[in-house]
Amino acid sequence: MLDMENNDEILAEFILETREILDLLDGDFIRLEQSPDDKKLIGNIFRALHTLKGSSGFFAFKRLEKISHAGESLLGKIRDGQISLDPEKTDRLLDTVDVLRVIIEGIEKNHSEPLGDDQQLIEQLQALAKIQSQSVQRDVNLQKQSELGAEVEVFVESPSFSQADIAIPTSDVSISDKPHDVSAPVKVNLDTLDRLMNLTSEMVLARNRLLPFAANSKDLSFSQTVRSIDLLTLELQERMMKMRMQPISYVWSKFSRLVRDIAQECHKKVNLIQIGAETELDRALLDAIRDPLIHILRNSIDHSIEMPEVRKSKGKPEIGNIQLRAFHQNGMVLIEIVDDGAGINYDGIRQRAIERKLISSQEAVGLAKEVLNELIFLPGFSTKEKVSSLSGRGVGMDVVKNNITNVGGSIEITSEVNAGTTIKLKIPLTLAIMPALLVGSEEQTYAIPQNRIIELVRLDPNDTRALFEDFYGTPVYRLRENLIPVLNLSDELKLNKVSVDKTNSISLVVAQSEGVQFGIIVDTIFNIQDVVVKPLGPLLNNLPKYAGATILGSGRVSLIIDIDGIASESGLIGGFGANTITPVIENTQIEDGEIAMLLFELNGLSRIATPLDSIEHILMLSEEQFQENGNKEVVYYQDQLMHVIRLEDYVSGCQLNDSSGSAVFPALTCFINNKTYALIVKKVHDIIQVPIKMYELSSPQRGIEACVIYKDEVINVLDLVEVLAMHNAHDSTTMYPRVIDIHGVLD
């Protein structure tokens, strides 16, 4: 036994290697279940377990050693054809891998094996192995070993854990018969890599400065030297980029096990096909796409793939197929997740969209699939009635989309009823480098991420008067038939005005943030180039307008504009206008169905209701609790600042409260646009179920959206959006100093 204190490094390596082995085993067992006769595969698994047993023995980890020994014995029998593999045995073997993993985690924490009794598992494994002979087959098939060049027997005595010594099960998850590459990789810290990357990009810049000298020089040998430096730098740069790349199988290898487990849980039969597992991506991106991919797979198995009986009746094979395919295209990595299940239930989506008042029933009929697909990505939009244990854990497709767009990617869904669903992810090759548009404003250069730009418009300065229109104080631009708000980059960044020269043309960068299109005025547009993104660091991390910085070819630093940050800082998004799809307020016949509403009373208006969904709590507040905040009334209640809205002030037909009434009022609280509002009412009556069908009011009434019929009585429905807008607009009309209200609606 070794002195552990002095062998931390070896132990850490052991843990790392063991984890890799366990990850690969997961995938290998699944494949073994599909092709139980694959002798080579069995041989690989056998050797992996044998390696594990050997190294556990070396560290005197008794539990690890015993379990891997039991697993190895069973596999030995299978390999020798004495017994055959069935699902029960696969289950036990996968259990074995799980237990081994738990032990390894324990070892990592405490540097010693965690306590535990594995007798039951070992006995099960032994019982399964006990068919004919009791003797454990010890002699390893040397011929098979030499195929892989791995010397298992030697390793047991060797204290070194270099990869070359360890027999690794086949790691290429793709369907390829390429023999496994056994060259020894070196593990490098990501920080070291980043530093090397920095140096390399500096090297490139230095070379760029050197090139003009060579071009002008008459000294031939100097020019030749510069030429070779040029070539070497280029190659160095390419190699550096490659170093950060890892095959996508790094993430995929865990999926076979995952799919098997989910399918069993759903009582479905699913076969996972992985194509292009060798496709390489930046390591940071791989981590970013893992969760979205898992979610998509879960969705496919849980929702799309049908139960075996259903599939049979549809004339499909009982076993559903999910195909994962990755490949490079136009400098992006495309990942396709294709299933042959039931496809997306578009009627369900239409229904749900109508329920959520995103579209009207007439519109729904005509809506194209593409539009409906977009709806799936709205927060909280799920057509699944019951939340199952698998999908619908509060993580919806909106989160998937966010994760993908955060790394500069995009997602696209296509689906055919009964033919299946295809989800396409487009992921940039690397996070560290992205194409950006360089723009100039007041003699400063800024980079705007290209994937956020919709189009560029060049404007003739002589026409500027006519080009930007004044929307009562806010400049807007008429982009074809649409009005888009316009921001001036130099105003947003509060740059010092330097250029008074207006003879040059100015340009408009049309971008989009949270579904809102807007234009950014810049002085000049330079070019689109790949920039290396660097974080601004902790000293400057509270500046939401920047996504980072980059070093330009000249060696100068240029800030990268964060489109979302600029949009929200300027108040363009985060207001009521931010809805990607504006709720339809015209209350023509809306689909049948019922909706829960809270019925309450205002001074002079005895029957008014608001959808229950919009209300968070009902509180009792007294006049003394109200406090002044500038010209607004606020309540500080349970650590929350709430804006008081006296509904009587905003709803037509109400008498203004003479405040001679009761000292305590019920208040309905609602949380909208990151603010909590307390709506003061006279009395709360009941929760009622009313038909969704609303009747438009003959003449629009202030603060009232429509009316519904409940037990032959007409009940007014509060227009909360209008009331809040009126409340927020109130500020600008008063004489008092304005409350700073960045996110408020300023219409």
Binding site: K534, L543, A549, I551, V557, L641
Partner: protein, 154 residues
């Protein structure tokens, strides 16, 4: 034990920083302004591929600099795990000073300056103020996070 200090000037005033922190001294650095950043942050510059935050020492210390020399010299110093740049008018000598001349700031020393000044050395004709970059870096990062907290609570 004497410690080496690098002295630098802003206008007529002399300050010093512990010399062991110094990475290098540059002249005429090309920095990029960061609109919206605190006033004492002059901008960011590129040091062999690393982004360095440049501090305007005249604004940070509240001392007027000579207009012709304003932010001409960049002293790159190591703080915690990163490197920052202190933009000053000019650099002076390196002095070796011991504990015997060191004085901590007086009790009524301004709170604002406590975030930059470690103490002073009594020279024969004046007091040499010691600047500790670590102090104002940690102060800046804490106010940054405090600001964030304030913004999210409303």
């Amino acid at each position: 034990m004497d410690v080496n200090y690098l002295t630098f000037f802003i206008g007529k005033s002399q300050f010093c920083i512990p010399a062991e922190r110094i990475v290098e001294i540059n002249r005429h650095c090309d920095y990029t302004i960061v609109p919206g950043a605190p006033e004492s942050i002059k901008g960011i510059l590129n040091l062999r591929g690393q982004l360095i935050v440049a501090f305007d020492m005249s604004s940070l210390l509240g001392v007027a600099s000579e207009p012709s020399l304003h932010n001409v010299v960049s002293i790159l110093v190591k703080v915690e795990s990163s490197i920052i740049s202190l933009m000053v008018d000019r650099v002076g000598d390196i002095l070796a000073l011991g504990d015997s001349t060191f004085e901590a700031p007086p009790n009524n020393f301004s709170l604002h300056m406590r975030n930059a000044v470690l103490g002073a050395h009594k020279l024969s004709d004046s007091l040499l103020i010691i600047i500790d970059p670590n102090l104002f870096i940690s102060q800046l990062t804490t106010t940054a996070s405090a600001n964030e907290l304030l913004q999210t609570s409303f």
